[in-house]
Amino acid sequence: MSVLQELAGAITSGRIRVVDLTQTLSPEFPGISLPPEMGQAWPFRIEEVSRYDERGPAWYWNNFSCGEHTGTHFDAPVHWISGKDLPNNATDSIPPERFIGPAFVVDCSKEAAKDPDFLLTKDFILKWEANHGRIAPRSWVLMRTDWSKRNDPVEYQNYDEEGQHTPGPDVEAVKFLVAERDVLGFGTESIGTDAGQAYHLRPPYPCHYYMHGAGRYGLQCLTNLDQLPLTGAVVVAAPLKIRNGSGSPLRVIALVENK
């Protein structure tokens, strides 16, 4: 039996579980906030076209609108200025084999519960590797914080007078993952791959800056990371094929083998 047939059979039989890592797209799910004088991403909005009524007697459908960076979404390298001139840096030109990759889940949920500004460090990753093994090249590193369990948008966004407080990686961690672990990308449960206060890091938004500058990707607003094993899952994350798109909302799934 071929590998693919074996895989398909394992999914059918339930030996391989499919875990949905995607938040539901809805108008209520919070979006990225920028200063009001800057350009703004559209929030997710949906308008009914017809629902078995005079607008269309036998069918129901909607029009929806949103920015490329809405809900659970993918960041392409062209999103950041550091990745603007790289080859194959946009949603339509990224080689499709990059949309499937192993996932290493770094559990920071306890730390994030204690400190919403928790920054994942290189040391933290090295300690994690000491327990769970070295992160393989061309893998997703997913930072589990259980942030997705904050169902109230106010809690999820976590603003105070100094701005947003959400966890993310620090500068050294990102540089390490890119240069020494050759990762495919970095994924988080909060609204961005960078921490809420990452504007104050040097450089600002280091995950965006270094990941995209090295042609790597981002995933944010992920959920159900607590249902993944720390190693061994495979993530499927294929963005919409938007011409020269900087990112896209997408359905992210993980394949998990039952032991």
Binding site: P27, E28, P30, S33, E37, G39, Q40, P43, R45, I46, E47, P153, V154, Y156, Q157, N158, Y159, D160
Partner: protein
């Protein structure tokens, strides 16, 4: 007026009826003035006679050179009567009804609806009735008569007292001043919308302290949000104050792309459309729901809706679109007797007009003007000096104003 007993919710709600609405074109001159809160009568340019009712020619010298001129309204009550029977559907549901003849100091004798406590000396005003047409109302000849509680007068005004009011945006300074002003005016309940609930805004705590206030998350660009809020509260709302607004500087050349302009349209125009579609039907069904029925829909427009102000060009365009839609809403709400009040302020003293030099209307002054307009039954509100000046220039010569604003 004591707070009325709550209506038994299983009782039938009476259908709205309107007072007689037919007017000749010339008689609409009285309505045009009353919409602005002015009492104007025709005055002959040749012999100076002031006349009423409006006619095509001077009743004294037959000249057709008649000008609508603001009149003082002082007069003497000649006779009064109480109507106990009427075949008109509107009045027969509101009997008894006081009417009188008032001899104005400027000449003509007019038929007037009477305030409950008028004596011999009165002052009359032209007010819009539930059909949106001007009628003449005689008030006591003193300043501080009780306007809010007079049963007949309440049929002409939209007084906030005892009313349940929905203010669509409590995040702006103006929105907050509006809420505080309505609370002071005796509103019974005030729902206050606020978008992006995760961003706490200045003034939130003060709003929460107002006993009548309930804060409700609302983004007028989200149809589902508007629909669900309407399902919850639209059947109770007597007055909507739609002040949700998106405002950015610049016209066409000084800004790249269409996103800011689209956001302006989405809030200023489509926001009104969404609110009107979801809240309109319930309010139309409650146009005659006792003494605190659905009465008014206030739109925060802009003086820029009349003529484009190029430094804020796309904002002006969105407000012109909203103005046009508000006229449609007015036509659709009129059969229910719900008045659409359009407010055309000049620049508001807020962060988006930071670089405009004064005069700018203070948010508190704007709120006061709107509360006053509801009390006085005014339909088109031009609050503040800038708005008044623009209005005068626009009425005089719209083309000249266009050139002046683009200079």
């Amino acid at each position: 007026m004591q707070r009325q007993k709550r209506k038994n919710p299983v009782l039938r709600t009476r259908l709205p009826t309107l007072p007689p609405a037919a007017r000749s074109r010339v008689a609409l001159g009285l309505t045009a003035a009353a919409a602005l809160g002015r009492f104007e009568l025709q005055q002959c340019r040749e012999c100076g006679t002031v006349q009423y009712p409006p006619r095509e020619a001077c009743q004294k010298c037959l000249s057709i050179l008649l000008d609508w001129k603001v009149q003082p309204g002082d007069g003497e009550l000649l006779a009064q009567t109480v109507l106990h029977h009427s075949n008109d559907l509107f009045f027969r549901e509101r009997l008894p009804w006081r009417l009188g003849l008032v001899k104005l100091d400027v000449g003509p004798t007019v038929v007037a609806h009477l305030h409950d406590s008028v004596a011999q000396r009165v002052r009359v005003r032209a007010m819009l009735d539930r059909a949106g047409q001007a009628v003449i109302v005689a008030l006591p000849d003193k300043e501080n008569c009780d306007m809010a509680d007079d049963r007949q007068l309440r049929e002409f005004t939209c007084d906030p007292k005892h009313r349940k009011i929905f203010v669509t945006d409590g995040k702006s300074r103006f929105g907050q001043e509006m809420v505080h002003s309505l609370a002071r005016a005796g509103a019974e309940l005030i729902w206050v919308g606020y978008a992006e609930p995760w961003k706490k805004f200045a003034g939130f705590d003060e709003l929460e302290k107002v006993p009548q206030v309930t804060l409700v998350p609302l983004d007028v660009t989200d149809s589902k949000n508007v629909r669900e809020l309407a399902a919850e509260i639209a059947g109770k709302v007597d007055i909507v104050v739609n002040n949700a607004e998106y405002h950015r500087s610049f016209g066409i050349a000084n800004r790249q792309g269409v996103e800011a302009a689209r956001a302006e349209m989405d809030v200023n125009y489509f926001g009104l459309l969404r609110l009107a579609q979801e809240f309109g039907p319930a309010m139309r069904s409650r146009g005659a729901d006792g003494r605190s029925s659905a009465v008014a829909w206030v739109n925060l427009l802009s003086i820029y809706a009349l003529a484009n102000f190029p430094p804020h060009g796309t904002f002006s365009a969105s407000k012109a679109a909203a103005h046009s839609l508000a006229q449609c809403l007015r036509a659709e709400m009129r059969p229910a007797g719900v008045r659409v009040v359009n407010v055309f302020p000049g620049p508001i003293d807020d962060e988006w007009n930071q670089l405009l030099p004064p005069p700018k209307i203070a948010p508190a002054a704007l709120a006061k003007a709107i509360a006053g307009a509801l009390r006085d039954g005014i339909e088109d509100v031009y609050p503040g000096d800038v708005a008044q000046e623009w209005l005068a220039r626009w009425r005089d010569n719209p083309k000249a104003l266009e050139r002046e604003l683009s200079a």
